[in-house]
């Protein structure tokens, strides 16, 4: 049971993130919503790689070969996803800066094209 808690957290994070993206009007909050979804997915990946009573998959001088380790592949995947997330976040925030410069507001309802 205790091992299922991360999955609830995953669901909560993704739903909160979607809620923020759909219903929040501030652009920064939308960006935060996307990062929340991203952390939810990352948490999901990490949780999948966990095995009961395992240690982190690091070979140091102290560990013997037989120690049970978590799966390293999901962690590598998560890392890649975090790297991508940083790039997306940086891009989104710089776009927000430019939007603010042009529109003078961060209200998503006012950020739109107007047909002439």
């Amino acid at each position: 049971m205790i091992y299922n808690i991360p999955y609830f957290a995953v669901a909560a994070l993704i739903l909160i993130g979607l809620y923020a993206v759909v219903f929040k009007r501030n652009l920064i909050k939308i960006v935060i919503g996307i990062t929340l979804i991203e952390s939810g997915v990352n948490l999901f990946l990490i949780t999948l790689g966990f095995r009961e009573n395992s240690v982190a998959p690091i070979h140091t001088a102290g560990t013997t070969e037989k120690t049970l380790m978590s799966l390293p592949v999901p962690q590598a995947l998560t890392l890649t996803s975090i790297v991508i997330g940083v790039a997306v976040l940086a891009l989104m925030l710089s776009l927000v800066i430019h939007i603010y410069r042009h529109y003078g507001t961060l209200d998503v309802r006012k950020i739109k094209e107007v047909d002439e």
Binding site: L18, V21, V22, F23, K24, I30, V108, I111, K112
Partner: protein, 119 residues
């Protein structure tokens, strides 16, 4: 000698028909010739660049050439007017709000879940 042309000239066979642009081209040329001949039977009294070709606007004065151009949004005015009930809804959909765009995604996700997951 011209065998290499064979794959180019083969006809595209569909289930109940076929489509060959080369044949179509021949047919087009023939029909064009026929139409041209028919055009030859037209009124001989018609002369270009005379009074006959001038626009007649029910006696109203003719506009300047530059003002005669019908702008893009004036075309198909009648169609838009008739379909107004649909366009009102469509315009409401395309409101430019990012959140609403994502909301549509969530709705589609829900429909797919219900149809594929539950059934």
């Amino acid at each position: 000698m011209l065998e290499f042309l064979d794959p180019f000239l083969k006809t595209l066979q569909t289930d109940s028909g076929f489509w060959n642009p080369i044949l179509w081209g021949f047919a087009f040329v023939i029909i064009f010739l026929i139409a041209y001949i028919i055009r030859g039977f037209g009124k001989q009294a018609y002369k270009e660049k005379t009074e006959q070709t001038k626009a007649f606007l029910s006696g109203n004065p003719e506009y300047e050439k530059e003002q005669m151009h019908i702008k893009g949004s004036n075309l198909y005015w009648g169609f838009m007017e008739i379909m107004k009930f649909a366009y009102d809804k469509f315009n409401k959909m395309h409101n430019g709000n990012t959140g609403d765009y994502v909301l549509w995604f969530v709705i589609i996700l829900g429909i797919f879940f219900i149809v594929l997951g539950v059934l």
